[in-house]
Amino acid sequence: MSAAPGAKKPYGAMAPDVDRFAFTPENLEEAKRILARYPPGRQASAVLPLLHLAQAQHGGWLPKAALDYVAEFLGMAKIRVYEVASFYDMFNIEPVGRVQVRVCTTTPCWLCGSDAVLKAAREVLGCEPGESSPDGRFYLREFECLGACANAPVLWIDDDFYEDLTYERAKAVLEAVVRGERPEPGPQSGRKGSMPAGGKTTLLEVGE
């Protein structure tokens, strides 16, 4: 995922629907840089990064005008962009809260206690999965495997993963986010990355 400029600012209500959309000058530069990665005639491949960019710019969801804009930008048929945006779960094509809170509930996370994480999220945000919080700031979702099963259960907030969660840890992270803070991402258990939970068992002779 590309960086989401502006994502770390304090959050208000959900971004409004608009009939016109254009990249900000910084994002336009970024879009051009992304476009340059693809060979001529294959610019359509840039559709995913550009949609992420547009979504971040527009506060977490893609209005129709943004899809049209990206289509125009890449010289693609509009329906093709709509197909892509509606296919991937990471894109929201309806207004949602600016902060995206996703709880992984696939088997490994579920076995390690994702139900508790979901419970914490419901309580702290005050909404059900698939809904935005009453103040319109947060959007809560259940997600399928985020690919970090070794640190299950996992919570994904905007661009950051919070791992090794329990009910309390999840609650603490979310409450901090609600206060407008961003706790240090990664395992919340104190372990480093996905090293064994009980300390190193192999490669003992290699220095830290």
């Binding site: 129709k64 329906i79 197909e83 296919f87």
Partner: protein, 687 residues
Amino acid sequence: MPKLTIDGEIVEVPPGSTVLQACEAAGREIPVFCFHPRLNIAGNCRMCLVEVEKMPKPQASCALPAADGMVVHTDSPTVHRARKGVLELLLINHPLDCPICDQGGECDLQDLTLFYGPDKSRFKENKRPVADKYLGPLISTHMTRCIHCTRCIRFLNEIAGVEELGAVHRGEHMEITSWVEAALTSELQGNIIDLCPVGALNSKPYEYRARTWELKKTESVDVLDAVGSSIRIDSRGNEVMRILPRLHEEVNEEWLADKSRFAYDGLKKRRLDVPMLRKAGRLEPVDWKTVLAAVADRVRATDPSRIAFLVGDQVDCETMVLVKELAERLGTPHVECRQDGSPLGIRPRAQYLFNTTIAGIEQADVCLLVGTNPRWEAPLVNARIRKRWRRGGFTVGRIGVPFDLTYPVHDLGAGPATLEEVAHGWHSFAEKLAAAERPMLILGMGAIARPDGAAVLGLAHRLAESVRLLRPGWNGFNLLHTAAARVGGLELGLVPGPGGRDLAGILAGIERGEIELVFSIGVEEVDPKRLEKAFVVHLGTHGDRTAPIASAILPGAAYTEKNATWVNLEGRPQRGRLAVFPPGEAKEDWRILRALSEAVGRTVPLDTPAQVRARMAELAPQLGELDRIRPAEWGSFGRAGPVDPAPFRSPIEDYWRTCPISRASAVMAECSALAAARAREATGTHG
């Protein structure tokens, strides 16, 4: 060539074939939904499962390349179980509303379920609801019935060349839609109704009007453009209920353009159904005898040199034989079938034919379009060009006003000056044409139906010679007609005889009072103001442009109401068939002229269709055999002269309304209004 064993029988298929094709070659029928021989393979419905030895699971035969030594079973218990399973799954979310579905009776899902499917459902849960989509005035949708074969998407992407339909969301939530409820713009969109294997996409004008099994099916040909597509007219009682394409590989393949498919409601509106005579300035209904007597009196009272015959765009060859015979008997040389004022002569024939043939486009490697917008003038010719382009190694150049043709086109220039450059070899495109193996030129009416047309035609001839459009076994010179009647008229020689006046001459003659009596045989594209001064006898079908200024009206039969011959732009004679009878007192056109000749006392001795056709074959032997093209002789045509710098413009600005039938059609009017609104939006000139 791979050799396969299909149900114990050995077949050999060309390399690159699929197992499905191999099974078909072995005479096995494999049920399919998503597979279509003219579309890319999608392999998403799984209906075509077969068992291949050494493969652990049943295989989708449509997407499996045939390999040497494969042993395939299409009739084993596994295959039957697999088909049953696929159908059960497809039916899970299908509403099973066949009794109220338009597709009922011609539905692949219904048929295949009957043959291979389960007889009851084990699905107790709720079915998935899907909202219907708005796709415009031509196609209605029932999206709960969709089985996601994606044929409709692939057709529009690949064949029609407009990316307007897509599959949004995913898995169980997948839906087919246009970009947020926008009407489709393609002029070939009706074909997705035929392609849809279920009743998800239906014809909006035909919806809920009839059941398929109560329709009489008449095989005929279309006359709304000059392509001569093969059609099937479905009628009930004396009403045309719908029009569908019929397979003709060399002409329309299995497609049909939307005007030809949907304009039929225009056959039921504004019809001329009683003879009329103008009395004290008003047209009043009279009987046939009176009208013929009145016209005959007028003819007898008029000097033959002051009588002219003009022939319109949809007139059949039988009628034109009568026109020729009658004009000859009356002694007037002023006969003109080139209603658009083009300078085409009748010899050599090559100047007015699409010599490459429509199927021949697929052999060409370079193509130059001059003064034509094939997408509006002949959508299925354009679809062939696009088909050729998709195969690669094909360059298209254009001289004329740019227009999106659904494939890339090099714009060389807009007017005759560029054509001059290419013809003289000063333009680099001339080298491209000369270096090509099979170059072709498509000359549109927009280039020659103008005052300097003869000189433009001369330039085109010069170009043909200079880049050698004619090679052994290849004629790359093509004229793209827009009128179904034109080639027939030229074949029969309906051009001014010695001392005769052409269109401009006749119109000028009317102005100066030198032409007093004009027979308008289905003429609708000539400015009626210019005919007004003459006594106009109008033989036509609709109260369109000419009827209001006519002095006598002879109501004729539309193309669905007669057995008659038309010659398409390739020079292919084809027979249309009567599906319904003409309305009211209207009659077959040639019979009207025959009766008129008798009333005038100059009887044309042709009494039966067989006699008329025998005479037609005498006048133009090439029309003697149906559906056969006789290659045309080459020679010189056009003439040298000054050209006007004005750019070449297609004669068709509004695709949806080009003839009396389509102008009378409410469906076409809606399409036309939509297209106009879209154009306004695109150019930003609102209001």
